[in-house]
């Protein structure tokens, strides 16, 4: 048996195994280190700060948990959110993330490490990304082998698609959810492989953790039943499947119902019905198997036919009836929007208005996954070649997640793990093939057909180069061929069969081919690493609370307007002053300014949000009663026109209009905010509704003065603002941040003389009162 390069022969298998496992451990440790380190860009470039929007709420909730204990947290009613409705926080959130941080916090304090809760929150996501890498390693190991596992771990450790949600400071549910997703899937695969009730239970426990941590648990709730269903339909029902699924479903469902926010949803909503249905189906199938083993096949045929049909009809009817009666909630809007991307925009603008609910743009696939995009299909196809139960899982996962990732940007996150797994399988198969030193035997053309399949053998395990002697390799190869699908068949098969139709021995000849391919692969990996590092540092590490720009000389310039404004609110306003803003900033105001807000990122009450939308999009006179009714003291708007910050409120304004229109179609109309030509403009051509709207006025109030007579330019919309700026009668400018990003207005009290504020203002400015003709009020005199 010729080899492409010499192999050491004096090594005992024990040494090889030990070394391999040592290398694995070291590699995993390094991968974890890399995963954590690459997520620290945010801390190093900026500071240890909580990012974005939702994390601010999680952080605030965690502080409550850490300071007041779990029971107080559970019963926490937040009177400052959704003023004046309040929010029953304990019952409307997934407490997993906060509980995790709380446990870590208490542990560290128990061993006298007085770590600040903020630092725990900031560093939780990087820490869990290391665990994710490990879970992915375990999962992929079940798919192929340890070498593929290591590759998958390395991929998931640094792939931008996952980093985008787990940089330091991105303290969100997804930070721990992906780890839980992978570990649950791993336990499920393990339970399925071994038919183990123990692993089924472990999967259920992690499933419970997942339910407690992220609303995306519904993905698991439907993935596992789908897998089980496909297995049943393929005739792969086995007692292993029965044991694994039943133990997972029974324990997992009961456990998940303990989360207050979930409650009875697992037995009441449509999203959870698939899991229940498959559970029922499994019982029927298992029962059928039992019956079959006891009765003759002819009788069984009859039984099966009648039984299946009647039960199927009964079940479907029961489901329809229950849905009709309202005992099972119909599908939610978020669910429909997964199938029809235009649905949300039409019926639930509040969902469509979130940027991460938009369909994914193609470039972002490459941005988030780079060369894994190409490897991913190859890995999925390789799964087909062997098609064990767990490979089916990966295939289903890949198909489902690809679809969802195309529909919603944020679901890229669920796609990323399977991309890493499949790509790792593909890449490790490629490496196995090309690193494997076995040279194909040169055989006669006539015998080549049989020879090829014997010779094309993969490496025995991931530790390359394969230390086994050629003899054992070929023996193993034979075994593999005989066992049919104990080891994955290799790329070389495909290569060989596609490149040459003539029957030649398949395999790789010579060192040069190998080196070329391996070098190529290493280059791709190197590019991947550099791409990931670049994307992480430049795109995904911005806290979005603090912005960075660069000075002309290249040095970094920090734009800290948000915190400046929030701290102004915190220090200059009464503690119970209600702040109105668009809902994006609700969590930040609550977290940083500690003031009550009308709406926040927990968008549970569409009407309340529409109320804010209406106030923002109507004229001052219309908005003022709304503001007074809700006790609003301050209004906060984000305005990017001065420095070109494009995520400002004017750009979000149409969503406010749309959401308000959904509730008050007679009072707010979207078309009236466009010019007659149908353009969205803020310059001289802006429509009257636009120019009278509170949002427009607050954004551009005194903006023209800034230019001292020169033409004022909105740098976001690249339009020239009218020379005469808007005036405000019902509001007072209270604060404008350094770069004008945040502007805060104070709502005036009613005029003490009972006039409307417009005429009061005119009087205070010394304008002559216009005598309007009042209606005659003459009454009969008694």
């Amino acid at each position: 048996m010729p080899t492409a390069y010499p192999l050491p022969t004096n090594l005992s298998p024990a040494t090889v195994a030990n070394t391999a496992s040592l290398i694995r451990i070291v590699a995993l440790a390094l991968i974890s280190g890399a995963a954590i380190a690459s997520r620290l860009f945010a801390v190093i470039n900026f500071e240890s700060i909580i990012h974005e929007f939702d994390p601010w709420f999680n952080y605030r909730a965690t502080r409550v948990l850490a300071s007041k204990g779990f029971y107080e947290f559970w019963n926490w009613f937040d009177p400052t959110a959704w003023y004046p409705l309040g929010r029953v926080v304990g019952g409307t959130l997934y407490p997993g993330l906060m509980a995790t941080s709380g446990v870590i916090y208490n542990l560290l304090h128990a061993i006298n490490l007085p770590v600040d809760i903020r630092n725990i929150c900031v560093l939780l996501a990087p820490g869990f990304s290391a665990l994710t890498a490990w879970a992915t390693y375990m999962f992929t190991k079940e798919m192929k082998d340890a070498s593929a596992g290591l590759l998958a771990a390395a991929f998931i450790g640094i792939v931008p698609g996952y980093i985008s949600r787990s940089v330091a400071g991105s303290y969100d549910n997804e930070a721990i959810a992906i780890f839980l997703l992978m570990i649950t899937f791993y336990c499920w695969i393990k339970a399925l492989k071994q038919g183990s009730a123990l692993f089924g239970t472990v999967a259920a426990v992690f499933y419970f953790y997942m339910v407690a941590a992220w609303g995306g648990y519904a993905f698991i709730t439907n993935m596992i039943p789908l897998h089980a269903l496909v297995l049943i339909l393929m005739g792969r029902f086995s007692s292993r499947l029965y044991v694994a699924y039943s133990s997972w479903y029974a324990i997992g469902t009961l456990a998940s119902m303990q989360v207050p926010f979930v409650g009875f949803q697992p037995v009441k909503t449509s999203e959870h019905m698939a899991a229940l249905g498959v559970f029922g189906l499994l019982q029927i199938v298992a029962f059928a198997q039992l019956v079959r083993s006891h009765v003759s096949s002819h009788q069984f045929q009859k039984l099966l036919a009648t039984g299946v049909i009647s039960i199927g009809i009964l079940g479907a009817m029961a489901f329809v009836l229950l849905t009709y009666k309202g005992w099972i909630a119909p599908w939610t809007g978020r669910f429909y929007s997964l199938w029809d991307t235009g649905y949300a925009k039409k019926y639930i603008p509040i969902i469509a208005s979130v940027s991460e609910h938009q369909p994914t743009a193609w470039p972002s696939f490459f941005m988030d996954l780079q060369f894994l995009v190409f490897l991913f299909p190859a890995g999925v196809i390789l799964c087909f070649r062997e098609l064990r139960d767990e490979h089916l899982f990966v295939i289903i996962y890949a198909v489902v997640a690809s679809y969802f990732a195309g529909v919603m940007v944020r679901l890229m996150l669920t796609l990323t793990p399977v991309v890493c797994v499949a790509s790792a399988v593909a890449l490790s198969t490629l490496l196995d093939t090309f690193v494997d030193p076995t040279e194909p035997e040169v055989v006669d053309d006539t015998r080549s057909e049989s020879g090829a399949s014997t010779i094309s053998a993969p490496g025995t395990n991931g530790a390359a180069p394969s230390p086994t002697t050629p003899a054992t390799t070929s023996k193993k190869a034979k075994k593999a061929a005989a066992a049919a699908a104990e080891h994955p068949t290799t790329l070389s098969d495909i290569l060989a069969s596609s490149s040459t139709k003539t029957a030649k021995p398949k395999g790789i000849y010579g060192l040069d081919t190998r080196i070329m391919v391996v070098l190529n692969t290493i280059c791709m990996l190197a590019f991947f690493v550099s791409h990931c590092t670049w994307v992480t540092s430049s795109a995904y590490s911005s806290p979005s609370v603090v912005l960075a720009s660069s000075n002309p000389d290249g040095s970094q310039h920090i734009i800290d307007d948000f915190r400046e404004a929030y701290y102004w609110l915190r220090q200059n306003t009464p503690e119970d002053a209600v702040v109105m803003s668009w809902w994006d900033y609700g969590y930040q105001i609550a977290g940083m300014a500690d003031r009550p807000t009308l709406v926040d990122n927990n968008t549970w009450n569409n009407t309340h949000i529409a109320t804010v939308g209406k106030a923002m999009s109507s004229s001052e006179e219309v908005a003022y009663p709304i503001l007074r009714k809700h006790d609003v003291s301050y209004i906060l708007v984000i305005f990017g026109g001065l420095i070109g910050y494009s995520g400002d409120d004017i750009n979000k304004f149409l969503w406010m209009v749309r959401i308000a229109q959904g509730v008050w179609p007679d009072e707010v109309q979207e078309p009236s905010f466009f010019t007659p030509q149908g353009e969205y403009k803020v310059d001289d051509n802006a429509s009257p509704a636009m120019r009278n709207s509170l949002m427009y006025k607050m954004s551009y109030y005194r903006f023209v003065d800034l230019f001292g007579g020169a033409q004022a330019m909105d740098r976001v919309r690249q339009q020239q603002v009218p020379k005469v700026g808007p005036t405000l009668d019902y509001l007072d400018e209270a604060f404008t941040s350094e770069n004008w990003i945040v502007r805060i207005y104070e709502v005036k009290k009613e005029d003490s003389l009972g006039r409307d504020l417009k005429s009061a203002n005119a009087f205070a400015q010394g304008k002559k009162r216009k005598r309007s003709k009042p209606t005659t009020r003459r009454r009969a005199i008694l």
Partner: protein, 442 residues
């Protein structure tokens, strides 16, 4: 000893007699032309005797300013210079409104002439006739010009003393807008009307009447002396003519042997304007659960809540606040966006000044406000808002072991028992089964 004590009482009484009676301060600025100052001596000396600290200032004098460093210098201002067209820099309609915002009370006299003050009146929903058209009336038949009119005073009025004699009035009437903050004090006689007196053309009046859409300024709907209480609680009294305060009218007889009520009327008006009479306040409010005294920050839905308010009235005779139980129509609202509960807040018998209401919190969680919003003409408006959260029950606050849930309990217990029995039988029957299986295999 007795003598000494009575002396002490005398001093004390003297002292209280000299003490200012206003609840907001005793410094008064009188803006009047120095020449006319003596015309109002009876009224002004009366104020002085009451204990007010009067400062006089000519309309064009620069000092003392009314607002210095954003602080009002005086607690009350009387503007008797009604005919002046030009005032010092710091006395403008805007600064007068600003004064009101700073809790200063004003008495403003108008005149038939067009002055800055007559344009200010429009801000208070008072519509004046065009310049040069004072109120005239030819009834009752009397000596003297028709523009000097005896006006009978309502017998019972919350501001005025009872059964006042008619008062002499000369000046300009105003029609009242529909501003709820206006407090009419003196109305014009039904036979009176505004008209040009010194040979002017009536066209201006007709034009103005048409423009205003109010018809002519005539009849008893017109106001002559009108109070105005701002939302901040400060009070203004608009007087159609400064002469109503004058010594001449105070001493002029209405009819034979009947003295005019001017002096008492002026005193009553000043009393009301300077926050001596009809002044109420909420001392404190409390809320707690029934059968408890501790005030909670948040209540649970369906709790029984007691809310109490303690209200005092200012007693100008003793310059003290005394508990006041005289309000019969006080209401309490428990509000979240809309009032969820509106109930009468009744005086508690036996506890002076305490008003209390007990009610069940709505079955709705949220941030609620206990609201008192009591606005009556002439009285200080009472406003109080206390925010509390109404929260759902705690996780262990729900009732346990409901009788209605027995089907579920039975289900759970029977399943547990059945499972236990099944396991026991399974385990006990194990060896037998195995043997049977073994037989089969063999």
């Amino acid at each position: 000893m007795v003598y000494l004590r009575s002396l002490l009482f005398l001093i004390a009484g003297f002292a209280t007699g000299l003490n200012a009676k206003s609840s907001t301060g005793d410094s008064v600025l009188v803006i009047v032309e120095p020449k006319q100052q003596d015309n109002y001596s009876l009224f002004l000396n009366g104020l002085k005797k009451q204990g007010y600290d009067l400062t006089f200032r000519a309309p064009k004098a620069e000092a003392p300013v009314v607002i210095e460093y954003d602080d009002p210098t005086f607690a009350h201002v009387i503007l008797l210079a009604s005919e002046n067209k030009v005032f010092a820099k710091d006395i403008t309609p805007q600064s007068l409104v600003e004064l009101l915002g700073k809790k200063t009370n004003l008495i403003i006299a108008l005149s038939p002439k067009q002055t800055p003050l007559s344009s200010l009146a429009a801000e208070f929903s008072l519509t004046l006739p065009p310049p040069g058209t004072p109120l005239i009336s030819y009834f009752p038949k009397r000596e003297g010009p028709p523009s000097v009119i005896p006006v009978s005073v309502p017998a019972t009025h919350s501001i005025l003393s009872e059964n006042l004699h008619p008062v002499w009035f000369s000046g300009v009437p105003h029609s009242l807008g529909n501003n709820p903050l206006l407090v009419p004090i003196l109305r014009a006689p039904a036979e009176s009307f505004a008209a040009e007196t010194d040979g002017g053309s009536p066209d201006a009046l007709v034009d103005a009447a048409e423009r205003g859409g109010e018809g002519l300024w005539a009849g008893s709907q017109l106001g002559l002396v009108t109070g105005f209480q701002t939302l901040d609680g400060s009070r203004v009294t608009w007087v159609g003519g400064a002469a109503i305060f004058s010594d001449e009218y105070a001493t002029k007889e209405v009819s034979k042997g009947v003295p005019s009520g001017n002096l008492q009327f002026a005193r009553d008006v000043a009393k009301w304007t300077f926050q001596e009479s009809n002044v109420l306040r909420i001392d404190r409010t409390t809320h707690n659960l029934v059968n408890s005294t501790k005030s909670l920050e948040q209540y649970t839905t369906n709790d029984q809540i007691v809310y109490s308010a303690y209200i005092s009235k200012y007693d100008s005779k003793t310059s003290t606040w005394a508990p006041y139980s005289g309000i019969k129509d006080l209401q309490l609202e428990f509000t979240m966006l809309d009032p969820h509960i509106r109930t009468a807040l009744l005086p508690v018998p036996g506890v002076p000044g305490k008003y209390s209401a007990a009610f069940r919190a709505p079955d709705r969680h949220g941030v609620f406000k206990f609201l008192i919003n009591y606005k009556r003409k002439g009285l200080t408006s009472l406003q109080s808002s206390t925010t509390v959260a109404v929260v759902p029950p705690r996780h262990d606050g729900y009732p346990r072991f409901l009788s209605a849930a027995w089907p579920y309990y039975t289900g759970a217990i029977s399943t547990s028992v059945a499972f236990f029995l099944f396991s026991a039988m399974w385990l006990a029957g194990d060896s037998h089964e195995k043997r049977a299986k073994g037989h089969k295999a063999e």
